[in-house]
């Protein structure tokens, strides 16, 4: 068999083994709590494959995908941006407020809101980047702290400055609604569920990230710094500048996480705006092996599991079981990846040793 095909098949083992293992462990958990795993999975499968569920899967996957991209770009440089959570929430709040404050023609309005969101996300992440470079504060520590600050700051701003004046009997706290020119129509209606059109922007973003990391000099410098900072520095890369730039880009992407929900559903930042997407993004990036295509698969998988699990409540099964499933997927991907990586490495070493022998034989033939 062609070695390339063989290697590709080996890599395919990673997600397959992860899903199989996740099914096995979740089944065990279901059995332990006295439920029938077969019927649980069967109802998940039938509910999860209905058209409206598939649309919902994609809608759920889009923000996860963007979050995964934001985390992955940092991971590629060994930079752990744990602050994606705070970055996107602050970005969603401020861009929603800004979007409600202006009136622009439709495409410009959307672009304006996205730009504000990216700027806020980049700024919040940039703080961590500058702290790391100037003061040696590890980005894990600073971004976690910045998450807390973002939550507090966001709540304060919303409650005191950005809140829509309340109508009588209105309970919900939210920003002023963005006018229709600042919203995106749905791409299609599938089984009664809107398929949100931010999907298109997310796909484009994934392509941009791929090109940036694998096809540009900047991406080369970024990956080189992640692999071997010492060698990167010797090659002329300024590691400090790379840290700040990568944090800015990661934060800017993080700023876009909330946009699908903002443009397609909420049209304002409300107290029930989705949270936790930044942390889910870490899991998605890990499972997707930091590659835009892998992240897409991981985001769709997580989106589907979330959606399909809704049915479990109706069956009287706690849907928290699904959190265990996700955890097992993450762990087994990390382990399976390492195992496959070693196998592939051993094959490469063998091939290189073979090439050395051939070269030696050639030399001897020439000498003889």
């Amino acid at each position: 068999m062609n070695t390339r095909v063989k290697v590709a098949l080996l890599w395919l083992l990673v997600p397959v083994s992860a899903i199989v293992l996740a099914l096995v462990v979740s089944s065990l958990v279901l059995i332990i709590i006295g439920e029938n795993p077969v019927s649980a999975f069967r109802s998940m499968a039938s509910y999860g494959t209905q058209p409206n569920s598939l649309a919902s899967m994609v809608n759920r996957a889009v923000p996860l995908y963007v979050a995964g991209l934001a985390v992955a770009i940092g991971f590629k440089m060994n930079l752990f941006n744990i602050g994606v959570e705070g970055q996107y929430r602050l970005a969603a709040l401020l861009s929603a407020a800004a979007g409600a404050a202006v009136s622009l023609p439709a495409p410009l309005h959307i672009a304006f809101i996205m730009l504000v969101a990216m700027a806020v996300g980049a700024f919040w992440a940039g703080v961590a980047g500058v702290l790391r470079v100037k003061r040696g504060v590890h980005e894990v520590v600073s971004t976690i702290m910045l998450n807390f600050i973002a939550t507090g700051l966001g709540a304060y701003l919303l409650a005191n400055y950005l809140r829509k004046p309340r109508l009588p009997n209105e309970l919900i706290i939210q920003t002023r609604p963005i006018p229709p020119s600042g919203g995106l129509p749905s791409l299609a209606v599938v089984g009664g569920e809107d398929l949100r059109s931010f999907l298109v922007i997310a796909i484009a973003l994934g392509i941009v990230v791929y090109v940036l990391i694998w096809r540009t000099r900047f991406g080369y410098d970024l990956r080189a710094t992640g692999i071997n900072p010492e060698a990167a520095r010797a090659s002329g890369i300024d590691p400090n500048r790379m840290v700040v730039r990568t944090m800015l880009i990661s934060g800017a992407i993080a700023g876009l996480i909330g946009m699908s929900d903002l443009f397609g559903f909420f049209h304002a930042y409300t107290l029930d705006f989705p949270t936790g997407l930044g942390f889910d993004g870490i899991a998605v990036a890990l499972v997707g092996l930091n590659h835009p295509a892998g992240i897409a698969v991981a985001a769709l998988l997580f989106g589907w599991v979330d959606r399909a699990a809704q049915i479990l409540d109706l069956e009287g099964i706690p849907k928290e079981v699904i959190i265990i499933t996700k955890g097992v997927i993450i762990l087994s991907v990390v382990v399976a990846y390492e195992v496959v990586r070693r196998i592939v490495q051993a094959q490469e070493i063998k091939a290189a040793a073979e090439a050395t022998r051939k070269l030696e034989a050639q030399k001897e033939a020439v000498a003889a």
Binding site: T216, R217, A224, T356
Partner: protein, 508 residues
């Protein structure tokens, strides 16, 4: 002759790794109470042999006997139980603990389940006295000099009851004075009946300390000789199996045009000046060699020239341009190439394919990129050129760098730097750890580049290489250039005495 059973006897040991025979029919007889050296080139199979003897690797065939009894080791534990101890080249010490704590680590003395340090302290004092290895058990390892740390390692092994010591390249990390100290310790140990197996590739040292020398080449033991009956050169020829190539550079190609000029450069690290008042020029077609014991400022000098550390004093010029404040990247683009001394740490992206390694340091230049874009096709073509011109053994440019042997990795680095036709090349230890054939090829390429006008700064621990290749030779000691010597007349011995400071600056 000797009627006693050998302390260690290896017969017909064979070990194969996928694609390589690391040991093939290796025979070694070490008598009790002798210092037995095992010498060979890097990659000859010394380490594999010692790992077999210490139970870290199991041989495919052959027998091991200790004190006349045939033994099979399943793990280092078995080796330790038979009285064999290993002092690794890279120390395995917890620097924040005391000597005492480090020595007992792994075999802690207990008294009713509680650590009993007093008993251990007594034993360590006894051992130090008996074997003449002076050490205060209560000092923190962090505060110890390298030589003293090595003594901790030796003590650790003795503490576990070893009577046969394996020392893996013990002098690699020591300065000359510490080497003497170590040799005194080793002789004391020998006088007290300890058997020592000493692995090295430094022939002078081996001739100085060993009672017998076994030479290993390409996985075979080729000869066991007495130091009195061989010269260093004969020993070297046994090691490489042929007449030694010499790194001579025939006629001079030095021109008047100064390419790199280093003026009064000083580098301070913390409170200490690690580089001081260093001044020299390299002209077109000239090779300037820097000799010195490792750690005397070579690294700081390279860093200052490459822009990875800004000097607190002095200036550096490339041609007419003052590059003292330039970034590394700008210097690279202006035509300074760099072969780092530690290729894996500073020269390679191990998990990345060769073509991405071939562009490391050249990523802003054609054919590797145009504008902000990587040129994959150009990079692949250039990598193919490097692979062919420098005989890098690899299945192709998409193979990952880690899969290559050290020699091939070095060829790739040298090739990528040379093929870009730099104006100035900073080469630190360009032939370290590569086989003799590849070494000769590297020398030939350096000579050719020099003839074509390359200005080369050569930093090397190989004195023959320095003397043979350099047009001008400086000695660096404690961060200063202490002597300027004529490579045509200087001998390695003289060079050595300048390096250790035994001889003071004459013509600097």
């Amino acid at each position: 002759m000797d009627e006693r059973a050998p302390a260690v006897e290896l017969k017909a040991i064979t070990k194969t790794f996928p694609g390589v025979v690391a040991n093939d029919d290796v025979n070694l007889t070490v008598m009790p109470g002798e210092i037995h050296a095992v010498v060979g080139e890097n990659g000859a199979g010394k380490s594999t042999l010692m790992k077999i003897l210490y139970g870290m690797i199991r041989p495919d065939g052959g027998t091991i006997s200790v004190n006349g009894r045939e033994i099979r080791f399943r793990s280092p534990k078995d080796a330790i139980a038979s009285g064999i101890g290993m002092v690794h080249q890279h120390f395995m010490l917890a620097t924040n603990l005391t000597v005492l704590e480090n020595v007992v680590l792994g075999s802690e003395p207990t008294h009713g389940g509680v650590l009993d340090f007093d008993a251990a302290r007594e034993r360590i004092r006894d051992l130090s006295k008996t074997y003449g290895v002076p050490l205060d058990p209560d000092r923190i390892v962090e505060d110890l000099a390298v030589g003293e740390r090595q003594r901790v390692e030796i003590l650790k092994v003795l503490y576990r009851g070893a009577r046969i010591l394996i020392l893996d390249e013990p002098t690699a990390v020591l300065v000359p004075q510490e080497v003497e100290e170590l040799f005194r310790n080793l002789r004391d140990l020998k006088d007290r009946g300890v058997t020592i197996i000493f692995i090295s590739h430094k022939l002078d040292e081996v001739l100085d300390i060993a009672d017998s020398i076994t030479v290993i080449r390409a996985g075979h033991t080729v000869a066991t000789v007495k130091p009195q009956s061989v010269t260093a050169r004969q020993l070297a020829e046994l090691m490489v199996g042929s007449e030694l190539p010499t790194p001579e550079t025939r006629e001079s190609t030095v021109t008047d045009e100064v390419m790199l000029s280093v003026r009064d450069v000083g580098v301070r690290v913390g409170e200490r000046w690690t580089l001081q008042d260093v001044t020299f020029d390299i002209r077109r077609g000239e090779i300037v060699g820097i000799a010195g014991v490792e750690g005397n400022g070579q690294r700081e000098l390279v860093d200052a020239i490459m822009g990875m550390r800004s000097p607190q004093q002095g200036s550096i010029h490339l041609g007419d341009a003052d590059i003292t404040r330039w970034s590394s990247r700008r210097r690279r683009e202006a035509g300074i190439g760099y072969v780092p001394e530690d290729r894996q740490l500073r020269g390679l992206l191990l998990p990345s394919p060769l073509w991405e390694n071939a562009m490391l340091g050249k990523q802003t230049m054609p054919p590797f990129s145009s504008g902000p874009w990587i040129n994959r096709r150009g990079a692949h073509q250039r990598t193919d050129e490097v692979i062919h011109a420098y005989h890098v053994a690899t299945p192709g440019p998409d193979t990952s760098a880690f899969a290559l042997s050290g020699g091939n990795q070095q060829k790739l680095i040298l090739g990528r730097e040379m093929i870009a036709e730099p104006k100035v090349l900073i080469a630190a230890q360009p032939t370290r750890g590569i086989d003799v054939g590849a070494q000769a090829a590297v020398w030939e390429q350096i000579r050719r580049a020099r003839a074509a006008g390359l200005a080369l700064l050569l930093i090397s621990a190989d004195l023959e290489e320095l003397i043979g290749l350099s047009d001008t030779l400086y000695v660096i000691l404690r961060g200063a250039l202490v002597a300027k010597l004529d490579p045509a007349t200087v001998t390695p011995e003289e060079l050595g005495s300048y390096m250790t400071g035994a001889r003071e600056a004459a013509s600097a």
